[in-house]
C-alpha cells in the first residue's frame, strides 16, 4: 500500500496503480485517448477524493499524451495543423468545464456529478462506436468471404452526414489527414470536448477520436496521433488549474507515467499490425468498461453503502476488464505476426488484423 503524502487518511494499492497505468498506456497508445476517462473513475475507485482524482488524472494524461505524440509522430500519424486548430477551441471549453466543477464542489456534489456526467457521456459514445464497429466488422467479414476488396471505412449515420455537410466558410484544408472541414464544425466539437475535459478530468480524446473519424472522415490512425497531440495542451492547462488549488498528487502521477510509458510503446506498435476496426472496437469496449465501474461507484455513493462486494465488483470490473482488453490485443498482435509469416489464423480475426 502507498501512503499518499497530500492525502494522509488514504492508502492506495501501488500494484493496482501500476497495473492501471500499464493497461491504460497500452489502450492510450493504440486508440489515441489520453486515458483520463479510464483513469479518473479508476482513481476514485482506488480511494482518491474526486478533485484529487481529476487533478492527478489530468497531469497523468498530459504526460501520457506527450509520450504517445512523440511515438505517433515517428509513425507519421500526427496532423499538427488540425491538432493546433482544435487546441484553441478546446482550451476555451476546458476553462468552462473547470468552472462548472468548482460550482459542483461548492455544492458538495462533486463526486456524484463527475461520475454521473462521465457515465452519460461514455454510454452514448461507447455504445455508438460499438454498434458501428459491429456493423463494419460484419461487412468486412462478408467482403473477405466473397474475396472482395475490403473497405473498413465506418458507416455514415444521419448526424455524421449532416455535420460533414456543413460548408460554412471559412473551410480549412488539412493535407496530412486529407480532409477539408468548416471552422465552425471544429469550433463546436472542440468546445464540447473541452468542457467535458475540464469537468470530468479527461483530455477529451474519447470525444475527439470518434469525431475526427466519424464526422470529419480522418483515417483512424491519423486521428489517434492527432488526438494525442492536441490532448497535451488542455490537459496541461487543467493540470495547472488543479495544481494551483492543490488537488494534484504528483507522486502518484509520476508512478503512473512511469508505468504507462511501456504500455504506450506497445500500444503504438499495435497500430502497425491491427486494422482500424480493431482500434474502434477497443475504444468502444474500454469506454463501456469504464462505464460499468462508474455505475457501481454511483450506487455506492447514492445508497451510502460500504458493502465489500460492491468495492470488490468495482475493482474486478475496472481492473480485470482493462487487463482483459490488453490480453485480447496481445492475442491479436500474435495472430497478426502469424499472418505476416503466412500461417493460418482464425477466420473471425481476418477482418481485425492487417495483411
Amino acid at each position: 500500500m502507498l501512503q499518499l503524502p497530500m492525502i494522509p487518511d488514504i492508502e492506495v494499492s501501488i500494484v493496482l496503480l501500476v497495473v492501471l497505468s500499464l493497461t491504460s498506456g497500452v489502450i492510450s497508445g493504440f486508440v489515441g485517448v489520453g486515458g483520463g476517462f479510464i483513469m479518473t473513475p479508476a482513481l476514485i475507485i482506488l480511494g482518491f477524493p474526486a478533485e484529487y482524482a481529476v487533478g492527478t488524472g489530468m497531469l497523468w494524461v498530459m504526460g501520457n499524451s506527450i509520450i504517445g505524440t512523440l511515438r505517433h509522430r515517428r509513425l507519421g500519424n500526427v496532423d499538427f495543423k488540425l491538432g493546433s486548430v482544435m487546441i484553441v477551441f478546446m482550451m476555451f471549453g476546458v476553462e468552462l468545464g473547470i468552472r462548472a466543477l468548482s460550482v459542483a464542489i461548492n455544492a458538495g456534489i462533486a463526486e456524484a456529478s463527475v461520475l454521473i456526467v462521465t457515465i452519460c457521456v461514455l454510454i452514448l459514445v461507447g455504445s455508438s462506436i460499438f454498434w458501428e464497429s459491429a456493423r463494419t466488422k460484419a461487412r468486412l467479414d462478408k467482403m473477405i468471404r466473397e474475396n472482395n476488396k475490403t473497405d473498413e471505412r465506418p458507416g455514415i449515420s444521419f448526424l455524421t452526414s449532416a455535420l460533414s455537410r456543413v460548408n460554412i466558410p471559412p473551410i480549412l484544408s488539412f493535407p496530412r489527414a486529407n480532409v477539408r472541414i468548416s471552422l465552425w464544425t471544429l469550433l463546436i466539437i472542440g468546445v464540447i470536448a473541452g468542457v467535458l475535459a475540464g469537468f470530468i478530468g479527461v483530455g477529451g480524446g474519447f470525444i475527439i477520436v470518434p469525431s475526427l473519424v466519424y464526422i470529419f472522415g480522418v483515417p483512424s490512425f491519423i486521428a489517434v496521433g492527432t488526438s494525442l497531440f492536441q490532448i497535451i495542451f488542455p490537459a496541461a492547462f487543467g493540470a495547472a488549474r488543479y495544481s494551483i488549488e492543490g488537488n494534484v498528487v504528483i507522486f502518484a502521477a509520476f508512478i503512473m507515467i512511469l508505468g504507462s510509458s511501456a504500455g504506450i510503446y506497445f500500444g503504438s506498435l499495435l497500430t502497425r499490425y491491427l486494422r482500424d476496426i480493431s482500434m474502434r472496437y477497443t475504444l468502444a469496449i474500454t469506454i463501456l468498461i469504464a462505464v460499468m465501474g462508474s455505475i457501481i461507484k454511483v450506487i455506492t455513493i447514492t445508497s451510502n453503502s460500504e458493502a465489500s462486494w460492491l468495492k470488490f465488483a468495482m475493482t474486478v470490473i475496472t481492473f480485470g476488464g482493462l487487463t482483459l482488453v490488453v490480453v485480447l490485443l496481445t492475442g491479436l498482435f500474435i495472430v497478426a505476426i502469424r499472418r505476416k509469416k503466412g500461417r493460418n489464423i482464425p477466420g473471425w480475426t481476418q477482418s481485425l488484423v492487417k495483411d
Binding site: 497531469l59 509513425l75 486529407n178 495547472a240 494551483i244 510503446y265
Partner: protein, 55 residues
C-alpha cells in the same frame, strides 16, 4: 501573497516534472525503437494516407 507564490511554484514543479519525465521517456523509446529497427531492417511507418487515397 506568500500562499499564492507557493501555489504557482507547485504548478511549475508539477508540470515541469511531468513534461521532462514524459519527454525523456518518449525520446528514450524512440532511441530504443531506432536500435531495434536498425537491427531488424524493417520500415518504421503506419502511414495510412496512401491507403485512404487509393480508396
Amino acid at each position: 501573497m506568500a500562499e499564492e507564490g507557493k501555489s504557482y511554484i507547485s504548478v511549475v514543479y508539477n508540470i515541469g516534472l511531468v513534461v521532462l519525465t514524459a519527454t525523456a521517456l518518449g525520446l528514450l523509446m524512440e532511441k530504443i525503437t531506432d536500435l531495434i529497427s536498425h537491427e531488424n531492417q524493417t520500415p518504421e511507418t503506419t502511414d495510412t494516407r496512401g491507403k485512404v487515397d487509393s480508396k
